[in-house]
């Protein structure tokens, strides 16, 4: 078998979800014996590309060449038969079962006979073969996140597929755990396997990858074999050309000024020694200290799992930290990213959804006629298009829902407004309008905290920038380069 014959090649893959273009001609070449790393911003199309490769979704256009043949698989099982397996970002483990049982569960022979001893021996053998440290008899629920991830990996490689794909395996790991995972991945690749991993950690990628591919806007913009010594070309590929960045920055010279000119003295939010540990005991924020003044837009950046989700919720008063103290506005407005889940109740009417804000503190009776007229007024103000205030929230388009949520969360001019990816899913015009509304609220004296996964948007919008990395929060200059390198932990 020649190396070429075993190569997995994705050529000009395109994929749309509704009106959203996820991939627009992305390519990737992966050969056995090498660790391939896929880099790119959130939304660059990395996950979609690997979902196409592993049969979790099908491409609209483009071709997959595997072992010299053009293939096209519809299901994960078909891809697996052809020797391609994937470890997805979210674990699918049964916490109450042992490691061996979880691995046995992944076996496709439903009627195969199961014996505890042979399952444990199988796992022990697999682990020894590939050099992973796992106790087959341990209950999965009691394991650390990194050990659970090893279970997920063993489960996947138990199928014996020569191609192993991992979707952001380092998102849940601490820096040292991430390093040892990469070390293991490289060793696993050296045994003759093809390994493709998505990551946000540029330094680990440079250190361990045999080849790096960068996606931006659904296209492959960089592909090269190592060694990698300079992070500049990579950052440029991830964030776009630096020339373009400068232009964008010039567009907005006046905004920081106009905000600070009206600077209202008074700190709207302050966090002292704030730490958050999630339900699984994973630390999400570590000892965060910051204060946010009224009349400014603070941009928050962070790759997935870096702590920005928790930071925003602490600031908005939606999450009580495990340690530390917070001074915040009880009336803080909060526009979460996942509208359908966190901001509205889809089957409730708009009036009911409007009443939702502050309902935790409401007493006595609800006067629906009053709330209905408030809802209508807010809808008019924010140009929400709906049949009536009694329409169910789920009948509105995404853009109208977002305008509705924003209008509701800014009723009564709260001192603090927290918005998470407020322009996601909006078209260009609606996104521009959202940005204008955020600026208006800032100019009216509110403290605005905005998270965006688009660094350019942050740079255009923010007066200050906070970057989350591994649960720590750091203030950096408001420039794409400064934010970009802080995102991946470079100093």
């Amino acid at each position: 078998m020649t190396a070429l014959a075993d190569t997995l090649e994705l050529q000009n893959i395109s994929k749309r979800y509704g009106s959203t273009v996820a991939l627009a001609g992305a390519s990737l070449i992966a050969r056995p014996g090498a660790l391939h790393v896929l880099l790119g911003e959130n939304g660059a199309g990395k996950t979609t590309l690997l979902r196409v490769a592993s049969g979790l979704t099908t491409a609209d256009a483009g071709s997959i060449i595997h072992r010299g043949h053009a293939v096209r698989w519809q299901t994960r099982a078909a891809a697996l038969n052809a020797g391609i397996s994937i470890v997805q970002q979210h674990f699918s483990l049964v916490p109450a079962m042992t490691v061996a049982e979880n691995v046995a569960l992944a076996d496709r022979g439903m009627l195969a006979r199961f014996s505890m001893a042979s399952a444990a021996a199988h796992v022990r053998h697999l682990c020894a073969e590939v050099g992973l440290d796992l106790d087959p008899g341990a209950t999965v629920g009691t394991l650390s996140v990194s050990a659970q991830q090893r279970v997920e990996i063993v489960k996947t490689i138990a199928h014996g597929a020569p191609v192993l794909i991992l979707d952001e395996p380092t998102a849940v790991l601490s820096p040292s755990e991430a390093e040892s995972l990469f070390e293991w991945l490289r060793g696993f690749a050296a045994m003759g396997h093809t390994v493709i991993a998505i990551t946000h950690r540029i330094r680990e990628a440079m250190r361990f990858a045999d080849s790096i591919t960068v996606l931006r806007g659904g296209k492959t913009v960089f592909a090269s074999d190592g060694p990698f010594t300079d992070d500049r070309p990579l950052l440029e590929a991830i964030l776009g050309e630096s020339r373009g960045l400068d232009d964008r920055m010039v567009e907005v010279p006046s905004t920081p000024g106009s905000g600070s000119g009206r600077d209202i003295d008074g700190v709207a939010v302050s966090l002292a020694g704030v730490s958050v540990t999630d339900g699984n005991g994973v630390p999400r924020l570590r000892d965060v200290n910051c204060s946010i003044r009224a009349g400014a837009i603070v941009g928050v950046a962070g790759v997935e799992g870096a702590g920005q989700r928790e930071l925003l919720r602490v600031i908005a008063g939606r999450l009580v930290p495990t340690a530390g103290s917070v001074v915040h506005d009880r009336q803080a407005g909060f526009v979460p990213e996942d509208r359908q889940r966190e901001a509205v109740i889809p089957e409730f009417s708009l009036t009911e959804n409007f009443a939702l804000r502050g309902s935790g503190a409401r007493r006595g009776l609800i006067r629906w006629s009053v709330i209905a007229s408030e809802t209508k007024a807010a809808m008019q103000r924010a140009d929400v298009r709906a049949a009536s205030a009694e329409s169910a929230a789920q009948t509105l388009s995404g853009g109208n829902q977002q305008r509705f949520v924003f209008a509701r969360e800014t009723v009564g001019a709260p001192r603090v407004i927290v918005a998470e990816n407020p322009t996601r899913g909006l078209d260009v015009r609606a996104a521009a309008e959202m940005v204008r509304r955020l600026r208006d609220a800032r100019d009216a004296g509110a403290a605005i905290v905005v998270y965006s996964s688009d660094v350019h948007e942050l740079v255009a919008l923010a007066d200050r920038a906070l970057v989350c990395f591994g649960g720590a929060v750091r203030e950096v200059a408001v420039s794409a380069e400064a934010i970009g390198s802080a995102l991946v932990g470079a100093s």
């Binding site: 994929k15 979800y17 509704g18 959203t20 996820a22 959130n42 939304g43 199309g45 990395k46 996950t47 979609t48 979902r51 979790l56 979704t57 919720r313 008063g317 939606r318 909060f334 979460p336 889940r341 966190e342 901001a343 509205v344 109740i345 889809p346 089957e347 409730f348 009911e352 959804n353 009443a355 939702l356 804000r357 502050g358 309902s359 935790g360 503190a361 409401r362 007493r363 006595g364 009776l365 609800i366 629906w368 009694e390 329409s391 169910a392 009948t395 949520v405």
Partner: protein, 351 residues
């Protein structure tokens, strides 16, 4: 869109009931019995005359309506209270104890006190599950279900011990004094004040859910705990605990009403599974108080009709249970099936 959904909401139970009766009639025919005669006997027994309506159907409907409302209050908050049966028994037990102990000179205060004691006991019984859920994360489905058996055995112990009738011959309590009994609504019929209390409970629940902040919090919590917590800043766990306790109070009231209105004494078979049937009542009624009133009438009529069917047409009353079970299965399955046919598979998310 919304009116379309309303039509679907109303048509589901009708199809379920019609389909279930058709299936039961088929089985009765296959068993070599006369389905036509059985059906006529059932309808006569449930609605034939004022005795059928007042002494059979509406009397049977009373506990089912209150328990259906109890179940719905919990379900609407996203708490699956399977323990209405146990809370009903707790309420009946407390009502017995109060009605037997309070001196007769208090007059109507005796049955009022018995009803109040029943509600408190039911709330307390549910509070055990609420506490286990908050403190130890014990799923309420399991805890409320198991507490039913604890309640049943507790009743069994009490009627052979502290609450047993003085002769000690029968495993039951003494009959409560007349001042402890709920007044009858009509001189010659067995329909009692509990029927009006049940209707008032349904009306009151509707009003609370619709017009009070607490009711809105309950609905929001059940509809989307995430949105309730995030957008509404609602203490979701506390709302759910309170809903479970309130649900228990209503179930306990049902137990007290049945004891002081119908059985007048405590024994082990005081509930022929009312608490479980009530889950079907609540679901058939779409968890809406108005719908539950109609569903309770249906289940009340089903019970009354089954008795008549057995008496008049010699068709086993178990066929009514078949109908009840099929109705519940249909109500549960139809919305899922409709969702499947009306909306196709959803596309995955892009990254």
């Amino acid at each position: 869109m919304s009116s379309q959904r309303r039509v679907a909401q109303l048509s589901t139970p009708l199809f379920a009931v019609g389909g279930a009766i058709a299936v039961a009639a088929t089985i009765i025919t296959l068993a070599g019995l006369d389905a036509g005669a059985a059906l006529r006997a059932a309808v006569d027994g449930a609605f034939g005359d004022s005795f059928a309506v007042l002494s059979a159907t509406l009397k049977r409907m009373t506990p089912l309506l209150m328990l259906g409302i109890a179940v719905a209050v919990a379900f609407r908050a996203g708490v699956l209270n399977i323990g209405a049966e146990g809370q009903f028994l707790a309420g009946a037990t407390a009502a017995t104890a109060v009605a037997l102990r309070l001196p007769g000179r208090f007059g109507p205060l005796v049955f009022l006190a018995a009803l109040a004691a029943g509600a408190i006991a039911g709330a307390g019984w549910a509070a055990i599950a609420a506490w286990l859920r908050r403190r130890y994360l014990v799923t309420e489905v399991v805890s409320t279900l198991l507490l039913n058996f604890v309640a049943l055995n507790l009743v069994g112990f009490l009627i052979r011990g502290p609450l047993q009738e003085p002769t000690g011959a029968y495993p039951q309590s003494s009959t409560i004094p007349d001042v402890g009994k709920l007044p009858l609504l009509f001189a010659e019929h067995r329909l009692h004040l509990g029927f009006l209390i049940a209707l008032a409970t349904a009306l009151g629940t509707w009003w609370v859910l619709k017009f009070t902040a607490a009711g809105f919090r309950l609905r929001a919590t059940g509809a989307s705990p995430d949105a309730a917590r995030s957008a509404g800043q609602i203490p979701v766990e506390r709302v759910q605990a309170m809903a479970l306790v309130a649900s228990g109070a209503i179930a306990g009231l049902a137990g007290a009403s049945e004891l002081t209105g119908v059985t007048h004494a405590l024994y082990e078979g005081i509930s022929p599974g009312y608490g479980y049937t009530a889950i079907g009542v609540a679901l058939l009624g779409g968890l809406h108080p108005g719908g539950i009133v109609i569903a309770a009438i249906f289940f009340g009529a089903l019970g009354a009709g089954a008795d008549a069917m057995q008496r008049e047409a010699a068709v086993p009353a178990e066929f009514a249970s078949v109908v009840a079970a099929i109705v519940i299965l249909c109500v549960l399955a139809v919305p899922g099936l409709m969702a499947r046919f009306t909306s196709g598979g959803r596309a995955g998310s892009a990254t």
